[in-house]
């Protein structure tokens, strides 16, 4: 087996959907962006030197005790409220007991039968503009584990590794686990629903300001449970279809991009369908998603009987959020993303398709921030959906991960509007900013990209061009105005692009026409 594993036999998607009805359950782990960890005062900065952000508490040293981070609780309650959940009036933490080297106490402080938030929903907009309601089972608080790296061996997994390293910087980072109820009735749109749900959730969490929601850094992670049941009706939402018992599920862990979620669910549907169609069983197990080959491979077999011996965490006092405080937090909720999208569309004057593209590209926030920073909606859209989308794509990044800020994009556009840059130069400035050379103004200065706005050098170049291409100049004088283009080109070449072409044309025409 290679590093990425090889897939099993799959059924064509259409065939799979003709025979089976998919049911999904999505578990999303969100790292909160609190300054300190869930139960101690250690910083949470991403990418720090391994084991530099640890203390007796998050290392699980003998005697150390947890203390709840009030900001973590606040984030959990706000997430619960934004997901239309009921907030528990009294709840506790619980210990989830199992042994693993990256878990300092060999139990995870989590919540079990008393989650902070439960019974909610999120309305998710699909590509065609229709809405799918995702029922939320619960959102609960817990702590992240450390991070193991397995060195040596072919797979990067613990089996076959020569040795393993553990970084406890991540241990104790506040996590909120958001669990959906079984998603039924999505039919052949199940993969799309999965992607759209995580996307909507990500937008919501970002709007709440509670998390960095960077899937590539693991601050938003999704586990997708998928099972198939026999299709008995063309309509996935029909009551006969809903009456069919669920099949055995697989759980694909840590799928870390929106596109991968859709692909992974789709793959699981076709893989499970092939097994069922061949009369084989689906194994209840965790599976790993391989981005490069687009397949999942078997992980650990997981039975429902797996016993974590949960019991209420005696080191933490019960949580009883006061109703008044919860209501006060409710007033801090941002506008729901769908409503906000409709408002922004109107404000920006975008067409339905334009807006949908923007949303699907995850560019709404960036455009909004760029507009706030002074750019027009049209130019903001042009940058984020054009050059910047292309740059992100080339680099395999999400738009939000590009090393350019909306304020820098607005600054760039202002330079274009002021005539300091033309579009071609502006694209070079983008390259510079993305390469870490500084802000637009710095890149313009450092690379010498500014348009020559002083007429002196331009006039010299214009006259040189007229002299060098006397034949063309004569044609223009003779009334063939279109021929001026060749002269403009010559001047621009002479100026190495750093001239405003419109101004060059103007200067040429002044000299060649009465």
């Amino acid at each position: 087996m290679g590093a990425s594993g090889t897939g099993e036999t799959v059924l064509a998607y259409d065939e799979a959907m003709a025979a089976y009805d998919p049911v999904m359950g999505l578990e999303v782990h969100v790292e909160l962006n609190t300054a300190t960890k869930m139960f101690c005062g250690c910083p949470t900065t991403f990418g720090a030197e391994p084991n530099s952000q640890v203390c007796p508490v998050c290392l699980g040293l003998p005697g150390a005790l947890p203390v709840l981070n009030a900001k973590g609780l606040e984030g959990a309650v706000r997430i619960g409220l934004a997901l239309n959940c009921t907030i528990a009036s009294w709840c506790r933490f619980a210990r989830k007991n199992y042994f693993y080297p990256d878990m300092p106490k060999n139990f995870q402080t989590s919540q079990y039968d008393e989650p902070i938030a439960f019974d909610g929903h999120l309305d998710v907009e699909l590509d065609d503009g229709t809405t799918f309601r995702v029922e939320i089972e619960r959102a609960h608080m817990e702590e992240d584990t450390g991070k193991s790296s397995h060195v040596g061996g072919a797979t990067g997994r613990i089996h076959g590794a020569e040795y393993s390293l553990v970084d406890y910087n991540r241990a104790g980072i506040p996590l909120i686990e958001i669990v959906t109820k079984p998603l039924v009735g999505a039919g052949d749109r199940a993969p799309e629903v999965a992607r759209a749900y995580v996307s909507a959730l990500r937008d919501l969490l970002r709007a709440l300001g509670v998390s960095d929601v960077k899937m590539e850094q693991g601050s938003l992670r999704c586990d997708a449970n998928v099972s198939l049941r026999k299709r008995v009706s063309d309509d996935a939402t029909s009551s006969e279809q809903k009456a069919v018992p669920f099949g055995i599920r697989s759980e694909t862990k840590n799928v870390n991009s929106l596109r991968s979620i859709e692909r992974a669910v789709r793959y699981e549907i076709t893989r499970q369908a092939a097994r069922l169609a061949a009369g084989r069983r689906v194994v209840q197990e965790t599976r790993h998603w391989h981005e490069d080959t687009g397949v999942t491979t078997a992980g650990r077999e997981k039975s429902d009987a797996e016993d974590y011996r949960y019991f209420p965490e005696p080191d933490l006092v019960p949580i009883a959020p006061e109703a008044a405080w919860v209501e006060q937090l409710r007033t801090t909720l941002p506008e729901p993303p769908a409503q906000r999208r409709r408002r922004l569309q109107t404000e920006w004057g975008f067409g339905d398709l334009e807006m949908r593209d923007v949303v699907n590209a995850g560019a709404t926030e960036a455009i909004e921030a760029t507009v706030v920073a002074g750019a027009s909606p049209a130019t903001a859209r042009k940058w984020w959906m054009g050059e910047l989308a292309r740059q992100a794509n080339t680099r395999g990044l999400e738009l939000s991960a590009l090393a350019i800020t909306p304020a820098q994009v607005a600054e760039l556009q202002a330079l274009v509007d002021a005539g300091t840059l033309n579009d071609a130069l502006a694209r070079q400035v983008v390259e510079g900013v993305l390469a870490g050379e500084g802000g637009p103004a710095e890149v313009v200065a450092a690379r010498g990209l500014e348009l020559v706005s002083d007429d002196g050098p331009l006039i010299d170049a214009v006259e040189a061009a007229i002299a060098a291409h006397a034949d063309v100049a004569d044609k223009v004088r003779g009334g063939k105005v279109a021929a001026v283009g060749a002269l403009v080109g010559a001047v621009m070449k002479q100026m190495r692009g750093k001239a405003d072409a419109a101004r060059v044309r103007e200067l040429l025409m002044e000299r060649l026409t009465p």
Binding site: P56, L59, G60, L61, P62, G63, A64, L65, P66, V67, L68, R95, N97, F99, P101, P104, K105, N106, F107, I158, S164, V166, A305, D307, R309, Y310, F311, P314, D315, L316, V317
Partner: protein
């Protein structure tokens, strides 16, 4: 004898230091010498921290010479139970699995002791991870009872109690999960207090059962216990279960109690904690104490706490459950010993964990981990852990009802006097029964004290009297305890410990 510095009470030492009758270095040195002299026999200490103790003493002397205002117990040495994390000083909890572990941090209660400028003499022996009533479950060998070196000093805090009874420390700390402060106090003729749950921070105490553990003072007199109690107790933001708000003045209560007037105090004798199963000499000393209380003006009534009979059973479900989880962290990955499995070429992390825990934990620890793991398992949780929590609620109700009619409750601390070493090692249940009278207080979170009630006639060994009070009313323990102590010492013509063997080499 009583003029020796090691035989002063903590209160006397504090007074003498302030009056500069002797120096803190002299006091610390006297104790270190005494340790060198007698602790080979007693084995109360696992680790002696002589140099740092003397350094603290020197700084106290310098401060006293400079006329600085110092905390009440500055310069008074103390022994610390090895379950408390001490920065730079080994902390083993009496377990082989933590052999060689030197904590990088101080428990909050250690921080408070250091802030009080008290020289820490060393770390005291204990049953492994505080599981036991005899200190025989220490991986480093048992502690012997200074009253009779062939007998147990109680447990788990037998080491701390023995330092007091052998005069190798004037004060010591303990932790009490089901009686680990009070039962050793009872069988060594010393004073031990389990404060209200949450009064003393648990941060840095290696947890046995988080919902039951409570640290407290061990001393030779009620006043000394109060002075140390005051140092140890106080809110700690590092412990979520730490009490906030008003806490009573225990030192004032001890001084008031010593005047001997208990007029207006109602004392409840708990019917379920006595009678059959309690040694005759223990019952006799207890009955005398009841008479003394009456003579001091207290009204004595009998109260019934029917659920107490289920306390031991509930305790031995809750404690192992929490302990099985608390002890999971000892896995050879980050600290403590690491043992590789024999005959395995390329062991997995899981195999190393298992091999280390197999070698590193003693039999009693394994027994309780297995019990707790079982009690928490799905399918058994409701029947065991769930039912035990219900019993706990019933016990709390019994206490509440009893405290409606009585200000404090009393009982013998332990059903027996110190038993011979090895006597109960093969019979865990009879060992567990040692704590039958002390466990209810832990299940309810209420404070309790044990103080000497005299010697049992049949064996001449110390008997303890237990006093229990409502949560946050720790002062009542000291009021009543000091009154009983005053009456008894006057009857005896001196402290009970004056009758203990001297242990001096030349005297043997």
């Amino acid at each position: 004898m009583a003029t020796e510095l090691t035989h002063h009470t903590a209160a006397q030492l504090a007074e003498g230091l302030r009056a500069q009758q002797f120096s803190a270095v002299e006091v610390t040195r006297a104790h270190l010498n005494r340790i060198a002299e007698v602790d080979g026999d007693v084995h109360a200490y696992l680790h002696i921290a002589g140099n740092t103790a003397l350094a603290t003493a020197r700084s106290v002397d310098a401060a006293l010479a400079a006329g600085e205002q110092l905390p009440a117990l500055a310069g008074v040495p103390i022994a610390v139970k090895d379950v408390m994390a001490t920065q730079g000083v080994p902390t083993t909890c009496g377990s082989a699995i933590l052999k060689g572990w030197v904590p990088p941090y101080d428990a909050s209660v250690i921080r408070r002791i250091k802030d009080a400028r008290m020289p820490i003499l060393g770390k005291t022996n204990m049953d492994e991870f505080a599981m036991g009533s005899s200190t025989e479950h220490s991986a480093y060998g048992p502690t012997r009872n200074p009253w009779d070196l062939t007998r147990i000093p109680g447990g788990s805090g037998g080491g701390s109690a023995a330092t007091l009874a052998s005069f190798t420390a004037p004060l010591a700390t303990g932790t009490d999960t089901g009686g680990s402060i009070r039962q050793p106090a009872a069988v060594t003729g010393t004073v031990g207090v389990k404060p209200t749950y949450g009064a003393v921070s648990r941060y840095g105490l290696v947890a046995l059962a988080s919902s039951l553990d409570q640290a407290g003072p061990c001393a030779r007199t009620v006043l000394d216990a109060a002075l140390l109690h005051e140092v140890m107790a106080g809110h700690d933001p590092m412990d979520s279960t730490s009490l906030t708000g008003q806490y009573p003045d225990v030192v004032a209560a001890a001084r008031r109690g010593a005047l001997g007037d208990l007029g207006g105090v109602t004392v409840g004798v708990v019917r379920e904690l006595g009678g059959d199963g309690y040694q005759a000499g223990v019952r006799q000393r207890f009955d005398e104490a009841v008479d003394l209380l009456t003579a001091a003006g207290a009204k004595v009534v009998e109260v019934s706490c029917p659920s107490f009979t289920a306390a031991l059973g509930a305790y031995y479900l809750i404690l192992p459950s929490e302990a099985s989880s608390n002890l999971a962290k000892f896995d050879a990955m980050r600290y403590g010993i690491r043992v590789y499995p024999k005959g395995v070429d390329d062991p997995t992390a899981e195999q190393v964990m298992a091999a280390t825990r197999e070698v590193g934990f003693g039999a009693e620890v394994k027994r309780r981990i297995i019990l707790g793991t079982y009690a928490l398992s799905s399918g058994y949780y409701d029947a065991y852990y769930g039912s035990a929590q219900k019993v706990r609620t019933l016990i709390q109700r019994d206490f509440a009802a009893a405290f409606e009619v009585a200000d404090v409750l009393i009982s013998p601390t332990s059903p027996t006097t110190a038993f011979p070493l090895g006597d109960k090692l093969d019979d865990p249940l009879s060992m567990y029964l040692q704590d039958v009278a002390t466990i209810p207080a832990n299940l309810a979170g209420v404070p309790g004290m044990s103080l000497p009630a005299g010697l049992a006639e049949e064996d001449g060994l110390p008997v303890g009297l237990q006093i229990l009070a409502p949560a946050r009313c720790d002062d009542r323990l000291y009021l009543v305890g000091a009154a009983v102590e005053a009456a008894l010492t006057s009857r005896w013509g001196g402290a009970l410990l004056d009758r203990a063997p001297s242990l001096d080499r030349e005297a043997v």
